[in-house]
């Protein structure tokens, strides 16, 4: 329950969602689990921002969704990344790399 320290920087959630969907279509819960698992539980996904994010990505045409039946026979909405979404992911990854390097650079500089 002490995962609150892992709050996300604004704007990065969308990138992580796209990353999570890169391999296979998943439902919202699956995305949450996948990201928490990948980040070894450092990052926690706030459901309150996950769904707005999914709707936003849909509007931008980077993912699509479809109702399917889970292995337990339950209906769930599965999200799938689009071609444009894949391109966007590459783009955002590159930006993120530059940005984090830049920030690192500054931090290193200000350190004595």
């Amino acid at each position: 329950m002490s995962k609150e320290s892992g709050d996300l920087i604004p704007g990065t959630l969308d990138m992580l969602v796209l990353k999570a969907l890169q391999l296979e279509p998943m439902h919202g819960w699956g995305i949450t689990e996948r990201i928490e698992q990948w980040s070894k539980n450092v990052l926690s996904i706030n459901q309150g921002s996950l769904y707005p994010s999914l709707y936003r990505l849909q509007r931008q045409g980077w993912i699509t969704s479809e109702w399917q039946v889970t292995e337990n026979g339950r209906r769930a909405r599965y999200y799938q990344i689009t071609r444009a979404g894949k391109k966007q992911l590459t783009e955002e990854q590159r930006n993120w790399k530059r940005l984090s390097q830049a920030v690192d650079g500054i931090l290193e500089m200000t350190a004595p």
């Binding site: 459901q47 921002s49 709707y55 930006n95 940005l99 830049a102």
Partner: protein, 902 residues
């Protein structure tokens, strides 16, 4: 309590988003169940697991609301935000904004103005039915080599009877008539005599009444006339009761039977202008709107095969091609040649009507359109360069916004919104400029451009300009946006100030490319303008062979009613001769008048030609071209400064009853009397033998650009005008304009029913004859000047930037003892390098493009070496000057302060 309206709006929302709401509910329920499952797996009791999951998930309704908002499109909201941001950014930099808007305004304005002319004249549909099926049927003459002669009436009647490739054939003739209104001075007007087929064939429907019927074309039928819409408005205040009323034309009454649109004369002026002779009002300059139409009444009795006064138009039969029509007409003409000696050496030339109408103006207009497009390109390059430069200032802003999460798309949009704002302002300014200059442009344009008066900034022009502006906004916006994308975030954020980074160098390189492009465009346009300038100068250097200084002309048309022209008594027409003599006498008595002449045509009117022979050498004449026949009074030669070479000039005694005499010009002597003495020889035409009494110098009455043709001059008294036209030429001292009312007064005293027209200094007539060349030259020079200014501003801008960029380096160099001259040379060299690359590209471009000018040039080749050297020299000089100013600034700064600043 909800009002019914609120309930309704909720209901609507519910209906629309019902499905999405249910999906959302189900999705979130699924998520919560999964959370509960996990909590239970981690060892909680089901109740606790449920409670914790709900707390963990948070306010379901709030998330749903956020999701709903996220799924709604945001474009407008973001666009408004970008717009506000863009306006703020532009207002923060008034200098930049002003320069950019001004540049675009000039570019767009010039394009809008020229495009409206091109669209109005060339592109708009022709106001006639099936104009592309209409053909002009010219006659040709193998002896003279002329290909655009009018036809004779019998030939026309034969075409009409024999042709199968044409479903209809019609003819017209240009006329100049005196209109004597009930009040006010008599007026000369341009009229057309048309065969009854012409207007229906062209698809012209009367606004009122009817057009001509076959019966109207019969010889001896009552006089009827159609009037144009403008004439109807002016003369009859658009009175619908005009039908049946009478107008007096050259003293004869005509009953008005219909009103036709003004466009009913479409193309006739251009056909007349293209003709080798019988051009009627086409030789009168710009006042050439046809106001009245009368029946042609083609009568082979009065107009035999030897005279060629009419123009034939035909409409191709369905399925027939112009080539087939040409073959058929050639065959018809060959038959006629065998039958009639008058048709010796005659053939036919079929030319599509649109070609005749638009052919002469198309090249110049398209060149101007191309030139103005290049100016717009230069303007775009200039603004893009400005935006890139501003990008330098803004790169930190861009970097910060990227860090704050603004995506590339969003940044791109921001740049595009800014360029769209600039373009919108530029377009607004441009359209204002265009509407202000369009009238000037139309007034400056030479006569004879079809439907020039209809040119205007209308919906068509505006929508094309809108499309062009979208392209401009995209170009101008995308270049700096892609530049910004390359920006190195890390470097930018690290840097204290913007000096010397790799990005700056890239930016500088991009600007250099843009400036090189501007210089190249300026070179292309300047070389084009230079070639036209030189052509015009060449043209003006030509001696026309007659003097224009101090000479005024005024023309009259004597109606046959009061000045009878009976061919039986020719040339003894005492009424016409009396009028000419008395007018010359009266005008000579006016104060300030030195000499006066009466002539059949003024010296820039091509007049007409006739076949002829030399008595005793008739056999040679078979393949001689026709000779120009000038009819002049004795005062002509001193008035116009035409020199006597040998023999004598005309004398008072050379009257209608005296032996016929002639003067020939030097060209005629050279062409037809090689190695013989022309004096005393006899020339035969019009069934008269004329004795040559003198040789005079050549006059270029076909225009300055044409070689002086061989000509004979006969005394007006011995060869009076067969259509009653006469031109008074007056040489005076002092104010020529003051002479004109005096001349009008003299004519009125002699004949109050006679209209005086074409009254102007002969120098004006001469200038007007070069109208098209002057128009094209002035416009192209203006565009070249504009492009040059843009290029100079571009060079200046780039080098100013370079100077700021290299200030620390220069500071160090100067601190280490570099001289000011060294620094100046460094900067100027950088400018010179740009200029040289631009020049090389521009010259290559000019080399390729000036061939499109070749039809507009005179006495200059399309790759004239002098122009190709001089013009780039000028551009280079301008570029060096533009780089010298920032170079001076580089040395002016104190090295220490620069070093400290960096």
């Amino acid at each position: 309590m909800d009002s019914p309206r609120e309930i309704w709006s909720r209901l609507r929302l519910w209906l629309r988003s019902n499905e999405m709401e249910r999906d959302m509910d189900e999705e979130m329920r699924f998520h919560i169940e999964k959370l509960i499952e996990r909590n239970v797996r981690e060892g909680m009791s089901p109740a606790e697991a449920r409670r914790t999951a709900l707390v963990r998930f948070g306010g379901v309704e709030r998330f749903k609301e956020e999701s709903r908002r996220e799924s709604r499109p945001r474009l407008l909201e973001e666009l408004l935000q970008d717009l506000r941001y863009g306006i703020r950014a532009l207002r923060r930099n008034p200098g930049f904004t002003l320069v950019a808007v001004l540049t675009l305004g000039l570019g767009i304005g010039a394009n809008a103005a020229i495009f409206s002319v091109v669209d109005g004249v060339l592109l708009r549909p022709v106001p006639l039915e099936n104009a592309d099926r209409l053909m002009v049927v010219w006659e040709t003459d193998r002896n003279t080599g002329t290909t655009r002669e009018p036809a004779s009436v019998p030939d026309f009647l034969d075409f009409r009877g024999l042709s199968r490739r044409f479903e209809q054939v019609a003819a017209f003739q240009g006329l100049e008539l005196n209109l004597v209104p009930l009040e006010g001075e008599p007026r000369r007007l341009a009229a057309l005599a048309v065969s009854h087929e012409l207007l229906p064939m062209a698809g012209i429907r009367p606004l009122l009444g009817r057009t001509f019927l076959p019966a109207d074309d019969e010889t001896g039928a009552p006089g009827v006339a159609l009037i144009g819409e403008s004439f109807w408005q002016k003369q009859f205040a658009s009175d619908p009761g005009v039908l049946g009323r009478a107008i007096r034309l050259d003293d004869l009454p005509y009953t008005v039977i219909g009103v036709v649109p003004d466009s009913a004369d479409f193309g006739t002026l251009q056909i007349l202008s293209a003709a080798d002779y019988s051009r009627a009002f086409a030789d009168r300059g710009r006042a050439a709107r046809v106001e009245v139409w009368v029946p042609l009444r083609p009568d082979p009795e009065t107009l035999p095969r030897a005279t060629h006064p009419i123009f034939v138009l035909g409409r191709l039969a369905p399925g027939a091609t112009p080539e087939q029509a040409q073959q058929e007409m050639t065959a018809v003409m060959a038959d006629l040649e065998k039958t009639y000696p008058e048709n010796t050496a005659r053939g036919a030339f079929i030319e599509p009507f649109p070609e005749v109408v638009f052919g002469p103006v198309r090249p110049a207009l398209l060149v101007l359109l191309g030139a103005v497009a290049l100016v717009l390109l230069a303007a775009c390059a200039n603004i893009a360069s400005l935006l890139v430069a501003r990008g330098a200032v803004r790169q930190r802003e861009v970097a910060v916004r990227t860090v704050l999460g603004a995506g590339w798309r969003r940044l791109l949009r921001q740049f595009l919104v800014e360029s769209a704002l600039l373009t919108a302002a530029g377009v607004a300014l441009g359209l204002v400029l265009a509407s202000l200059t369009l009238d000037l442009l139309v007034a400056m344009a030479p006569g004879g451009i079809p439907r020039l008066s209809e040119v205007g900034l209308d919906g068509r022009v505006l929508s094309v300009m809108l499309a062009v502006s979208v392209l401009v906004a995209l170009t101008v916006g995308l270049i700096p946006a892609f530049q910004a994308r390359k920006t190195d975030l890390q470097a930018t954020l690290k840097e204290e100030s913007g000096h010397g980074s790799t990005t700056d160098r890239q930016r500088s390189r991009l600007r250099s490319v843009l400036v090189v492009a501007e210089l190249a465009l300026a070179v292309v346009l300047s070389v084009g303008a230079g070639l036209l300038l030189k052509s015009f100068w060449r043209l003006q250097q030509i001696d026309p062979g007659f003097r224009t200084e101090g000479v005024v002309k005024a023309e009259v048309q004597l109606p046959a009613s009061r000045y009878p022209r009976s061919f039986a008594t020719w040339p003894d027409w005492p009424e016409q001769q009396g009028f000419n003599d008395r007018l010359v006498e009266r005008v000579r008595a006016l104060p300030g008048v030195e000499s006066v002449a009466m002539a059949g045509n003024h010296p820039l009117d091509a007049g007409f030609t006739n076949s002829f022979s030399i008595v005793g050498r008739e056999d040679e004449a078979r393949d001689w071209p026709e000779i120009a026949i000038r009819r002049v009074s004795a005062g002509y030669f001193p008035t116009l400064g035409v020199q006597l070479v040998r023999g004598r000039l005309f004398q008072d005694g050379d009257g209608a009853k005296a032996p016929p005499v002639l003067l020939i010009n030097k060209e005629a002597a050279r062409r037809f009397f090689q190695g013989r003495d022309p004096l005393g020889q006899k020339i035969s035409y019009w069934r008269t033998e004329w004795t040559i009494v003198g040789i005079v110098s050549n006059e270029r009455f076909l225009g300055l650009g044409e070689a002086p043709p061989a000509a004979v001059y006969s005394p007006l008294a011995q060869a009076p005008s067969m259509n009653g036209s006469g031109c008074l030429l007056v040489r005076g001292r002092g104010d020529l304009a003051a002479l004109i009312p005096e001349i009008r007064g003299a004519v009125r005293e002699l004949d109050p029913g006679l209209a005086v027209f074409g009254e102007e200094p002969l120098a004006t007539t001469l200038a007007e004859s070069m109208g098209q060349q002057r128009f094209t030259m002035l416009l192209l020079a203006a565009f070249a000047g504009l492009a040059l200014v843009l290029a100079v501003v571009g060079v200046y801008g780039v080098l100013s930037f370079v100077v700021v960029q290299r200030a620390p380096e220069m500071g160090i160099r100067m601190a280490l003892g570099a001289t000011q001259r060294y620094v100046v040379r460094q900067v100027v060299w950088q400018g010179a390098r740009l200029a040289l690359v631009g020049l090389a590209l521009g010259l290559a471009g000019a080399f390729v493009l000036t061939r499109f000018l070749s039809g507009l040039l005179f006495g200059v080749g399309a790759t004239d070496p002098v122009t190709f050297l001089a013009v780039p020299g000028l551009v280079l000089l301008a570029a060096l000057l533009a780089s010298w100013v920032p170079a001076q600034r580089a040395t002016a700064a104190d090295p220490m302060s620069i070093l400290r600043a960096s």
